[in-house]
């Protein structure tokens, strides 16, 4: 039987996984809540709190350790928020069935690329496009697992921005944080190191979730007895995740990400088939 204590404990795990992978945690939490008998709309609305808690809880450690690139995050937030609001608006026009299949295909393609890169070390981009250079989109951080300073330059700023617009659209249309899309864009298009990708995604995801708050408030679906244990649990989990991320290897992080994305693909396909 689900009560506030058991939900709090589940949320610790969700916050922990969400903070490590940059996925926010809603995509893990919502199916669990629905399985345990919470109405789906209520679960989606309340999970927004879990995303913000995961984002702020983990970002407090990542930002201080300078793994999160704040400038890159600010630049990308412009696109993702615009996308999220546009997505929330056009979701009434396009049938969600197409979206589920589209994003399942997108994640499937991206995860193939991730699977190949699990055993490869991150190689920083030597080149930088004009926009990225103009916006000083570069950085460095100290990787505690390798005991090395990792320097990197962000590339393809415009294409990456467009990718984040699509990620924002996904978030707005499907009511998810779309962290999987964000991390994919960060690594594959913007050429950011895995740890910078997931932590910067975590930072941005809180802002994307924030954009939808008023919609959920107006809908009257925000249940305090759901949100309170979720906020406490995910914050604790995210803070723990934030403390250990820098000590684990990029390979372990990619495997964890790959496993969660695989379950997300299954979820998207299931929802797509069920909505036909």
């Amino acid at each position: 039987m689900l009560n506030m204590v058991s939900l709090g404990l589940i949320s610790i795990l969700v916050g922990f996984l969400g903070s490590l992978t940059g996925l926010g945690g809603a995509s893990i939490l919502i199916p669990i809540l629905v399985f345990l008998g919470i109405p789906v709309k209520e679960a989606i609305a309340s999970a927004m709190v879990a995303i913000i808690a995961t984002s702020s809880g983990s970002a407090s450690s990542y930002v201080r350790a300078r793994i999160t690139n704040v400038r890159v995050a600010m630049y990308l937030e412009m696109f993702t928020i615009t996308g999220a609001i546009a997505g929330a608006t056009i979701t009434t026009i396009i049938h969600p069935t197409y979206l589920y299949f589209f994003f399942a295909a997108f994640l499937l393609t991206a995860s193939m690329k991730f699977k190949d890169s699990i055993n490869k070390e991150f190689t920083p981009s030597k080149n930088q496009d004009r926009v990225a250079k103009w916006l000083q989109l570069k950085g460095s951080y100290f990787d505690e697992s390798t005991k090395e300073v990792v320097e990197y330059k962000v590339n393809n700023a415009i294409a990456g921005g467009m990718g984040m617009l699509v990620a924002g659209l996904a978030a707005g249309m499907l009511g998810i944080g779309a962290g999987a899309f964000k991390v994919t864009v960060h690594e594959n298009i913007l050429k950011m190191p895995p740890k910078v990708s997931s932590t910067t995604s975590n930072f941005i995801i809180g802002m994307t979730a924030l954009a939808g708050v008023s919609v959920y408030l107006f809908s009257g679906l925000l249940n305090l007895t759901l949100m309170a244990p979720m906020a406490v649990g995910t914050t604790i989990g995210a803070v723990i995740g934030g403390r250990i991320l820098n000590r684990i290897s990029n390979r372990s992080l990619r495997i964890l990400f790959f496993v969660i994305v695989a379950s997300l693909i299954a979820q998207m396909l299931y929802k797509g088939v069920m909505s036909i």
Partner: protein, 130 residues
């Protein structure tokens, strides 16, 4: 080691955002825990409730906060604490954007002032509407 860790941005921005997030998260966490304790003492259980008093609703975030200050939704100290904790949690990322605008303005970094102002304007608009 600290010198090696520094990247392109000013470390002060990272430090101030980090502290802001920590304070927001801790205040919200404390309020939520106090709220849960009061709830348990009042009802004797911690079940997930479908009672309408446990649902929060407002026209938009800003009007909802304003109504809280006016005490329109205050129906008990547990609900008040839980609601306040959620509001603090929601406002934490919003305040960090305001702090970033101020920081880049103080640094006279026009490019990033414009970028952060754009984000702030869009988020404010989305929170003011529904």
């Amino acid at each position: 080691m600290t010198a090696n860790r520094s990247g392109s941005g000013g470390p002060k921005l990272e430090t101030s955002i980090s502290y802001l997030l920590i304070v927001g998260v801790i205040v919200s966490l404390v309020l939520e825990i106090i709220g849960i304790i009061i709830l348990y003492r009042s009802y004797g259980h911690l079940a997930i409730s479908q009672d309408t008093s446990m649902f929060i609703q407002g026209h938009n975030l800003f009007s909802f906060i304003y109504e809280q200050f006016q005490g329109k939704h205050a129906e008990g100290s547990a609900i008040l604490c839980l609601t306040a904790g959620i509001i603090v949690l929601i406002l934490t990322p919003y305040i960090r954007v305001i702090a970033s605008v101020i920081y880049f303005g103080w640094e006279k970094n026009i490019k990033y002032v414009l970028i952060t102002l754009f984000v702030l304007a869009v988020v404010t608009l989305s929170l003011a509407l529904h």
